[in-house]
Every structure is written in C-alpha cells, then in structure tokens.
C-alpha cells in the first residue's frame, strides 16, 4: 500500500534536495502520503475491509465460532433460501425498505413543499429533524409504553367508548407498529434534505409558471420534481443503506418480552444475523449468519446500482 505512493516522483537519488527546490507544493505533498493517509487507510482496511472479506470467507463454511471450520461451499446460502425464518426476515427488511421508504418519501416531499413558504419553517425543521439524533431504542420503548394495555393509546380510546381496543403489541401487530414508528422517526431527516433541494429552485421558475398559467399539479410535475430529482436519488440511496441495518428498534421489543429475542414476525435481516450468531440458545451458526449478512450487502449493492441507473437523468443546470 505504501509503495504506490510516488507514482510520478523522479528517480530516488534526485528526489531529496533538488526536488525540494524545483518541486512544487504538490510534489512535496505527494510524499506525505504515508504519514497523512497511512493511518486512516490502515484502520479502515484492518477494521472494515478485512472483516468484509472475512465475512464472505466465513459464509462458505460451517463454523460454530470455535473449533474447526469446515468448507461447505454455498450450503449456507442454500439453507437460507430454504429457511422460512430468513425469508420472513428478509421480507420484513424489504417491507421497511419499500413500504416505509415510499411512505417517508411521499410525506417528506409533501412536508418540504408545505414548509417552503410557511411561517416558522425554521422552528418546524429543527423539531422534526431531532428524532434523527435520538437512539431508536428510545422510540421503541416509548411506543411500547404508549401502546401497552394500560398505556396512553388505550387511555384515549376508553372514554371514546372503545371497550376492546386492539392488541397493539400482539406478535402480529408489532411489526406494522414498528413500521409506523420508523416513518415517524425518519421523515423529518428526509424532509430536511428535500427542503435543501426544493429551496435551490430559483423563484423565477414559479413566476414563469404563474405567467404560463400552470396549475399546482403541472408546477409539481414539470418544475419541482425534475429540479429535485437528483436529491431524491441521494435520499433513495441513503434510505436503502440505512433501512437494511435496522436492528435496535426491533431488538428492544425482544428485551421487553422476557425472552431476550423479539418475536420472529418482527425480525429483520440484521436481527436474523445477530440471533443466528449470538443468541445463546442454540449452537451459533457463524456461517449461516455471515451468509445472511452477505446477502444483505448484495441486496444493498444491487439496489444502489439499480437506483443510480433509474434515477440518472441529465443534470439540469440552473
């Protein structure tokens, strides 16, 4: 990694003093590669890149974490495809990605439009952005309280005459509730990003629209959407990446039911990976766990590449 640092440097003998006199700042700077980039690169490679390749390697083995690793080819992947639990977890991750994703996008876009010329927009923006800085555990716990049988939700419904409120936290209702919570937590962040995009549109476009007699829908369709398209692309990529790692908000519901593991109906791909490797109940299956994680990485990669294809348009200069 260090030997390539001097691609265009002159021969080693002449490098010391003559280069200093004749060499520009850029030439001298190039030599700082090792002290400047070295530490970051080393940490990144050792603690990030090597583990990625490690994961791919482990995923082709049967391994309980200690003891011998046995090569098993693509057995782990085959096992995953056949495992209904994994299919469900992946399905949940896809639900988060697409259903929650679309909800977030529609809402944030609508909110960005409303906020554009609304009095007090700065206050609104600061408040709705804040959940992004809060650990999702907090929202999980709050939702757990609001919807517990003695919680806030039922205390509102009772005076309204609802005697048999829904079992909010029942295993089958939990995941939809988590999805709604995700929308609540995340929309503000994407609204802030989209607002930056909508604000960039110069006002004379709207004046043109008014002159041409365009209605609200036409304005949206022909001015606002095309001009914020690239920001949408960025948001889509961001959401793809962050939705695949959703873990703690699911996990906290396992902590509160006593078993330590959330009900299988709510598992995401990340939870599946964690449970398969570290849940203590059964023999840890590191091979299958890493294989499921590698599939998540594959999913992200494919989707990001696709998104970039689909969202690519000619950049509109304005």
């Amino acid at each position: 990694m260090t030997t390539t640092a001097l691609p265009r440097a002159s021969s080693p003998e002449t490098r010391s003093t003559p280069a200093r006199r004749g060499g520009s700042l850029a030439d001298q700077r190039r030599r700082l590669f090792v002290p400047f980039v070295g530490p970051a690169l080393l940490l990144y490679v050792v603690l990030f890149v090597v583990p990625i390749f490690g994961a791919v390697w482990i995923s082709f083995h049967k391994w309980a974490g200690s003891g011998p690793m046995t090569w098993s080819g693509i057995d782990n992947y085959r096992g995953l495809v056949a495992d209904p639990l994994f299919r469900q977890s992946l399905g949940n991750t896809l639900k988060l990605l697409f259903v929650v994703g679309i909800a977030i996008f529609v809402l944030s876009f609508a909110m960005a439009l409303v906020l554009r010329d609304m009095a007090g927009r700065k206050i609104v923006r600061s408040v709705i952005f804040f959940p992004h800085l809060v650990n999702a555990l907090v929202y999980g716990i709050l939702v757990g309280f609001i919807f517990n049988p003695d919680g806030l939700a039922n205390s509102i419904l009772k005076p309204l005459g609802v005697d048999a409120p829904p079992q909010w936290l029942a295993q089958d209702n939990l995941f939809p509730l988590i999805m709604v919570t995700m929308v609540w937590m995340t929309t503000g962040y994407y609204t802030t990003i989209l607002m930056a995009g909508v604000d960039r549109i110069p006002p004379y476009y709207y004046e043109d629209c008014a002159l041409a007699g365009a209605n609200a829908w036409q304005r949206l369709r022909h001015v606002i959407l095309p001009l914020t398209w690239d920001v949408f692309g960025v948001c889509a990529v961001l959401w793809t990446i962050s939705s695949v790692k959703i873990f703690e908000i699911i996990w906290i519901f396992g902590a509160s039911n006593g078993t330590g593991v959330p009900p299988a109906q709510t598992w995401t791909a990340a939870v599946y990976t964690y449970v398969t490797a570290f849940s203590g109940d059964s023999i840890p299956a590191y091979g299958a766990a890493t294989a499921s994680a590698v599939l998540s990485l594959f999913l992200v990669t494919v989707l990001v590449v696709l998104l970039r294809r689909v969202m690519r348009r000619d950049v509109i200069e304005f």
Partner: protein
C-alpha cells in the same frame, strides 16, 4: 426565501395571492398542511416532554394516570437509575468511548482527507472511491468477523476494542465528509504559505487546519452522535455490566424488568440520560449538524 417582487394581488385567482413563491397549490389544502405540520411539531415536543416529566413520577402513578403531571420534582428515579441500575457506569463508559473515538476519528481522517482532496491523481481518486464504498456496507456484515478478530487479540468485552471498532467504522463517512470540505477551501493560501517556505506538513498544520475548524467540528459532532447511539456493535462486543455503554445498559434494564416488575419511572429516567446530551449538542450546534447531515450527504 420569499422574493421581493410582490405580485399583484388579484381576487380572481386565489392561488396567486400568496405570490409566485407559493408552490403547494390552493388555499384550503395548504392550510390543512400547515396545520398538520404544527400538529407534528407539537406531538414531537409533547412526546419527549412527556417522557421527561414522567421520569419524575413513580411507576405506580405513571400506570394509574399516564397523563398526570409530577407532584414536585423528585429526582428519586434518577438517583435510583444512577446508583442501583448502574446507569452511572454506563454513562461514564459511553462518554469516554464517544469522546475518544470521535476525537481520534477526526484526527486520523482529517490528514487523509486533506491529502486526498489536494492530490489529483488516479491513486487519490481511487482511494477516495475506496473509502466511499464503505458507506454502503451494512454493519451486520462485519459484525461476526470483527467479533472473531477482537476475540483473538483479547479485545472482546473491552472499551478499547470498541473504540478501535468505532474509529475504523467511521472512516468512510468522515473521510468522505472532510474530503468534500477540504475541496471547498481555496488553494491560494497554501501556495502563498509554501512560497514563504512552509513545508507541506506545516501548510496543513498552520494554514489548512485553522481554516478547516468548522468542517472538522461538524465531523466530530456527527461522530459524537453516531457513537453515542451505536447499539448493534456494543451489544455484540460488550458482555460484562461494568463495560456496558448506555444503549446496552438500557436494553439490559428493560430485560431485567420482565423479572423484577416494570419500573417505568426508572426507565424514563434512563431514556432522559441518553436523550438529553443529544438535545444539548443539538441546541449548541443545530444548524451545523443539519447542514453536515444533509448538504454533506447531498454532494
């Protein structure tokens, strides 16, 4: 945001009354939208405010009257959370892991980002891309290999190990953010300093770093927030109570409740301990954060 060109107000065409800057259509729909926005704001503030207030009540009264207000500010829950439930240790662990790893992340990433932003070569472009690609990797991919690696060097259940992991994990985003930031700084000053005889390292240290203070502060605070809230790795890598960071302590607190009975008062106190520092940072540096997290990602 609103232009100074005031449009003629015509009764005939209500949508124009608001001027050309108005995008979202006609009156009633818009008023509903504005109303909804304030409702959302209210719900957000009320939710967190409610949580903070309940932290001052005991569990029995919280369950009996969830809408009730505390009678006076008894800090019993906080004292209990702090001492009995050992949130003190967790807070201390979280604080120092977060601070150390964020400082080191920026200290390591800034020179690299500077070099990459100023060097125009295939190597620097390739390396920048190499760093950026890490942004797309979900944490669970490296979870197990990291566990195995740290286990083999006895850094499991160690805050030093967690620190190292956080630094490595933060490299893609921090290098990406700071590379963009250094690129936006003018090169003329550096050249002037170099003409005055400063060495390249001196240029970086004495000219660039002072100019880059803002960007580095943003990067630092973003890491602060990220590391303070990080849960999956902490849960995986920390096993003994005295090493727990706040998210792990919170999960284990919730777990214990299923045996020892619900202690919502204590739990809300714990939630306050994890949320309040973020609120403080947000109040302190709000704008910078929003810009770092949105514009920085938009490029």
């Amino acid at each position: 945001m609103r232009t100074s060109i005031a449009p003629p107000a015509t009764r005939r065409w209500p949508a124009r009354r608001r001027g050309p800057a108005s995008l979202s259509g006609t009156g009633p729909l818009r008023r509903v939208g504005v109303g909804l926005m304030w409702l959302i704001v209210l719900a957000n503030v009320a939710g967190l405010g409610w949580m903070a207030l309940q932290a001052f009540r005991d569990t029995r009264s919280i369950l009996a009257t969830p809408w009730g207000l505390p009678k006076g500010f008894s800090v019993e829950n906080f004292v209990e959370a702090w001492t009995v439930s050992d949130f003190a240790t967790a807070t201390w662990n979280s604080t120092w892991v977060t601070l150390v790893s964020s400082v080191l992340t920026v200290a390591v990433a800034a020179p690299a980002a500077y070099w990459l932003s100023r060097q125009e070569s295939r190597l620097s472009r390739g390396l920048t891309l190499f760093f950026v690609l890490g942004l797309g990797v979900p944490v669970q991919v490296i979870l197990i290999p990291l566990f195995v690696m740290l286990n083999s060097v006895r850094l499991i259940d160690s805050l030093v190990g967690l620190n190292l992991v956080y630094i490595g994990l933060s490299m893609p985003f921090t290098v990406f953010l700071l590379t963009g930031f250094f690129r936006s700084l003018p090169a003329e000053l550096e050249e002037a300093a170099a003409l005055d005889g400063a060495s390249p390292a001196g240029v970086f240290w004495r000219v660039m770093l002072p100019m880059a203070k803002g960007g580095m502060l943003t990067a630092f605070v973003l890491q602060l927030i990220g590391h303070w809230n990080e849960t999956l790795l902490a849960v995986t890598l920390l096993h003994s109570t005295e090493n727990y960071t706040l998210p792990v302590a919170l999960i284990s607190f919730v777990q214990q409740q299923t045996y020892s009975g619900a202690d919502w008062g204590g739990l809300f106190a714990g939630l306050c301990i994890i949320v309040l520092p973020m609120l403080a940072v947000y109040v302190w540096l709000g704008r910078r954060l929003t810009e770092g997290l949105t514009l920085g990602m938009g490029k």
